[in-house]
Structures are given as C-alpha cells and as structure tokens.
Amino acid sequence: MKGLRKAIGLIVAAGLLSSTAQAAISDDEIRIGYLADMSGTYRDLSGPGGLEALKMAVEDFGGQVNGKKIVLFNADDLNKPDVGANTVRQWIDEKNVDVVTGLVATSVVMAVNKIVEQENKLALISGSASSALTNEFCSPNHIHWVYDTYALSNGTAHAVLQEGGKDWFILAADYAFGHALEADLTKVIEAEGGKVVGKVRHPFPSNDFSSYILQAQGSGAEVVALANAGADMVNALQTASQFGLSQSGQKLAGMVVFLNDVHSMGLEVTQGLMLTTGWYWDMNDETREWAQRYHKRVGRMPTMAQAGVYSSTIHYLNAVKATDSDDSQVVRSKMIETPINDMFAKNGKIREDGRMVHDMYLAQVKTPAESKSEWDLYNILRTIPGEQAYRSLADSQCKLIKN
C-alpha cells in the first residue's frame, strides 16, 4: 500500500509537478549525521557535547516526527577535510542521510559542503567560523547557524572603536581563517575612522607568542586584536598578560573567543576581555533552564556552538514535521519561511544565502571577584541587532543573491 502510494507520488511528481519536489520522508526515517572534531583542538567547542545537544533535540521530539523515526549517525572528522568528506559521502551513498550537522573546522566544512551540494542534501553548520561559507562559498544546501568571522570581528571591533581605540595592531593566524578575519576586521576599523598601524601573521599553530606580543607593544597601537582561535588565541592572551600589555596602556580584543577558552584560561588571565558571542547560557530563564539540563548530562556548560546544534536541529525537525517531507529544498524553504524563536534566538531569520541572522551579544569577561561560580564568566554588555551584526546582503558575493 505504502509502496503503491509512493509510486503514484513519484509518477505524479515526475510527470506533472516536476517543479515541486515530492512530499515524503525517504526510507520512512529521518537520518541525521553529526560530524565534528571529537578528539582534537575543537573538541571542547563542539565535540561530544554537541552530540549530546543533538540527542536532547531528538528526545524533545520523542525520537520521531509524524511517526517516522529519527536515526542518528556520528563520526569524528579529526579536523581533516578528506576524512570529513569521505564520511559524509559514505553516509549519503550508503545510509541515505538527510542532513549533516555539527561541522566545525572550516576546511572540513568546505569539503563537506561540496558533497552535500552535489547530492542535494542539507548541512546545518554550527561550529564553523568563516564568513565565506555564506559569501563566495554559499550554496542552496547549507545553513550557517551560530556566528561567523564577520559578526564576531564586527561586533567587538565596533564596540572597542566606540570607546576610542583608533590605532590597531592585528595578530593573525597565517591561514585562510586568520586571513578572512584580518580582512573583515580591517574593513570595519577603516570604515569607522580607525587605522591599522601594524600586523603580523604567525604560523599555525604556534608555540610561543612572546615575540609577537613584543612587536605589538612596540607598534604604539592602542588596541591589539587577536585574529586567531583555539589554542593559539589562548596562548597569545596568556603571553600578553605576562608581558603586561594592559598595564602599558594597550587594550586587547579577542575576535574569536569561546566559553571553553575562557573557562580553560581562567578569569585571572582573561578578565576584562571584550568579545562577541552568539549565545550565552546565563542570559535568561529559558537559556538557564536548557543549560542546566545540558549540564546534568555533560558536566560542563554548553558553548554557543553546542546550543546552536540543539536549536538548528529543533528548527529542522519542525520544518520536517510541518511539510511531512525530508526533501532538502522543501525543508529548507520551510526553514527560511519560519522565524526562529527558541532558547537560542529570538526572531532569528534564515536568509537566502544560508545565513541565520540573529542577535549577537557584546560581552565582557568577569573579574574573579564578580564571578560567583565555575561557569559564571561573562557580563553581557549589550545586544547587537542581527541586521547590524552580519554582513548585509548588499555586500554579498553569494551566487544565490546575485541572480
């Protein structure tokens, strides 16, 4: 019976309604693949915690949508594009996975996106930073959820510029991500009347940052921006504090700082640091409640990337439920149509280029005296409205927008 209905559906779809995709859930299962760095540098940003967040989303749906079971697959990409691409290709070829989520290292995400686009599936990107994903590398098959380099550098730089920091020194990681950040940042600084007085690109990863910090001190800049991430950012920040960068009157601005970085460095080193974040667990009752639930399962507070996995999955499953289909384009249109209102975002909107635009927050790291508990790390200073935070469509190079 089911087979017959499907066959009729297919004939109808093929013959008459070739423009509208079929409304059906393939294999009678919704298959989600979680691909992330489970053992390397980005483990704490997304990793096993993100998988747990994904499971929470599935459980909140009771494990099924419209009577169709939700099945999860997960894998470690080891931060290698070839491993990630191979895994996703296999998921799609063998398991007919509908959607891939997690997705952290930019190099892996770019490789995965190519395959997802080729096979017309969907990717929900939570961990990755590069704003190029929804710019020159945009596709109709992925959605970038939590943050990007443009929003982070824009938010933080704007705030620091307003406080009067005009002369900047940029310390950037010497690879695509660092270059993108450096470019995004330079644009913001120059647009608002600031000046980049010096910059240095360090090898990735680097062991010792004292030399670069000394160069920053010698540059006479008022603000030293760290356009790197993860271990490099942590390392640079620690070194800056030992060399008394702030005592000598210079201000530090971290461009890509995550909760797990601040937690691991401790408040002694990071206090006073300004940063932009897409989400923080201690913002309101809704976020706190979800975060406590997560904390019970994982033993840590969620990062914005992990919260993003939950939020994007819920939004995806809701769209599947509403359309009773797991066809990528049908679901994607529904997702774009529906605003996002959950513990992660209020009135978030997915744009045609795949960028999920939502409010960002300017935060400052608390002093040890202010902090009341292990994870009480940020003061949220103000909300940056989504339209200001993200690159506007007018500046977009995305092929989906130009047409």
Binding site: D44, P203, S206, D208, S211, Q217, A231, Q238, Q242, M265
Partner: protein, 295 residues
C-alpha cells in the same frame, strides 16, 4: 634610535632575548634527546609526551595535592623520570640490538598512547597554571619589559644544562656513560652494570623533558598536544647539533632560538619552518651536524 635592517635596535635586542628564552627550552629538550640517543641509539619520539607529562604532573599535583611550584620542580622530573625508567626496563629493553627504526616506532606508539589518554581525560583546550608569586611581575630593561619568570627560565635551564654537561664530560659516572656508548660489551666485562646505566640514562633524559615541562607550565597552556608540536623542531635541533653531542645540543638549542626569534621579526610566517631550512643547509655542508663526528 639606531636602526638595523629597518628595525630599531631596541626591538631587535628584545627579540633576541626572547629567542634565547625559547632556545633555553630547545636546549633542555634536545639535551635529553641527545643523551638518550648517545647511549641507547634511540630517537625518542616519546620526548614530547614526557615533556607534556612533566607539565601535567605540575598542574595536577597543585590541584589535587596542593604541591607548589618549587616542589613540583623536583617532583615532576622525579615522577616522569621513574616512568621513563619503567618504559626503558619493560619496553625498550626488549628491542635492544634491533634496528634503530624500531626504537623510533616504539616510542612513537607510546607518544600516541600517552597523548591520546590525556586528551580523553582532560580534553584538548588545556588549562593554565598560576604564576608562582615570587616570579610575578618583571623588569624594565629600557628596551623591553622582561617578565621575571622568563628570566628565571633562562637561568634555570642554563644551570641544568651546564650541570648535565659537567656530569657527563667531567665525572666518573659520565666517563662510564661515554664508554658505554662506545663499547657496551667491554664495559660489561669491566663489571659495570650497563643495563642499569641505560635505564638511568633514559630516566634522566625523561626527567630533563619533565623539567622543561615544569618550566613551561606557567607560561604556556598545559595541554595534551603541547609536546607533539615542539618535538619535531627539537629533533631538528639535535640533528643540526650532531646526534648524540651534548654540547652540540645545548649550543644549537640556544642558537636556533635566536634564529627563530629573528625570523619572527623579518618573516614571521616562516618561523616554524626556518629550523628545517637550517637543518638542510647544515646537513649538506656538515653531514654529521655542527658538533657531531662522522661515523
């Protein structure tokens, strides 16, 4: 202000000083590697993992036992030295006489295991170790601000390096060691316990790595991957100095720190690579390294 190659002299001085401090780490680590290679003929790929262990012992003994920095300075090398001796006695011992290749592979496997376990236990983000109170703050040298701790690193590392050199080159124990390197069978015939000597040597090499780990703990993030990144550079240092040469390892360590420091000013992108360029050049001109003897 004097300008040299487009860079103010004062900046250059500061960079050279920082280079020297990094060089001190290289010297400590490559010294341990050189000693181990000298007697065991093993390229110790686990050296980075041992360095990491030293830093972790420091961190964990503070967190769980309340052991402060100054005690950790002895505790960590002792603990890791013991671990090293166990590794030698129960694992490396079993492949004596086999090709060098196997020693390299065995230690590479060990490094994977140790680092993998620590990632599983402590994650990869790393933690920071609080600066000991006595070493907070710094000196204003006029051309730069030198944190006290960095000054201490260079003093401590040089003392340990010198003492080690003295022990090996100028004492009876050292002469056994050197003789054991040349001809272990003969030494055995003279009634020297060569296997014990080898165990102690590996232990000492491991302890040196751990000592470097303690020194690193307050200034670099303590993370499971901290050693792996450094290891390959330290290899290069040992090769440039001449495999097995004690003085070669120390001098080259410091020298490479300086060269790297200069690279960070003039062409920072290549800072991680310059040491390999030097290695290629040195090996082409002096195949046995700067201080090595051709065999």
């Amino acid at each position: 202000m004097t300008i040299l190659f487009g860079v103010p002299l004062s900046v250059l001085l500061g960079q050279l000083l920082l280079g020297l401090i990094n060089g001190a780490f290289y010297a400590l680590l490559s010294l341990g590697l050189a000693i181990i290679f000298g007697l065991l003929r093993i390229i110790n790929f686990a050296h980075g993992a041992l360095y990491m262990l030293g830093a972790f012992v420091t961190l964990l003994s503070l967190q769980y036992l309340g052991v402060n920095y100054w005690f950790a300075l002895f505790l960590a090398p002792l603990t890791v030295g013991l671990i090293g001796m166990l590794i030698e006695k129960y694992l490396l011992r079993r492949i004596t006489g086999e090709d060098h290749l196997y020693g390299l592979l065995l230690t590479f496997g060990l490094a994977l295991i140790i680092e993998g376990l620590f990632v599983k236990l402590f994650g990869v983000s790393g933690s920071s170790y609080p600066m000991p109170d006595a070493l907070k703050g710094g000196f204003n040298l006029g051309f730069m601000f030198l944190p006290k701790y960095r000054a201490w690193v260079i003093v401590a590392a040089l003392i340990v390096c010198f003492v080690t050199w003295y022990m090996i080159e100028r004492t009876r124990l050292g002469s056994y060691l050197r003789a054991g390197t040349e001809n272990p069978k003969l030494m055995q015939a003279f009634g020297i316990n060569v296997p014990l000597l080898i165990t102690l040597t590996y232990g000492y090499g491991a302890a040196l790595a751990a000592f470097a780990g303690v020194l690193a703990a307050p200034i670099y993030p303590v993370s499971p991957g901290m050693g792996a990144n450094l290891l390959i550079v330290v290899f290069a240092v040992v090769v440039i100095g001449g495999m097995g040469s004690i003085m070669g390892a120390i001098v080259t360590g410091l020298l490479m720190g300086l060269i790297e420091g200069l690279t960070k000013v003039f062409y920072p992108e290549a800072a991680n690579t310059v040491v390999f360029l030097v290695m290629v050049l040195v090996l082409l001109v002096r195949p046995a390294g700067l201080f090595g003897k051709e065999t």
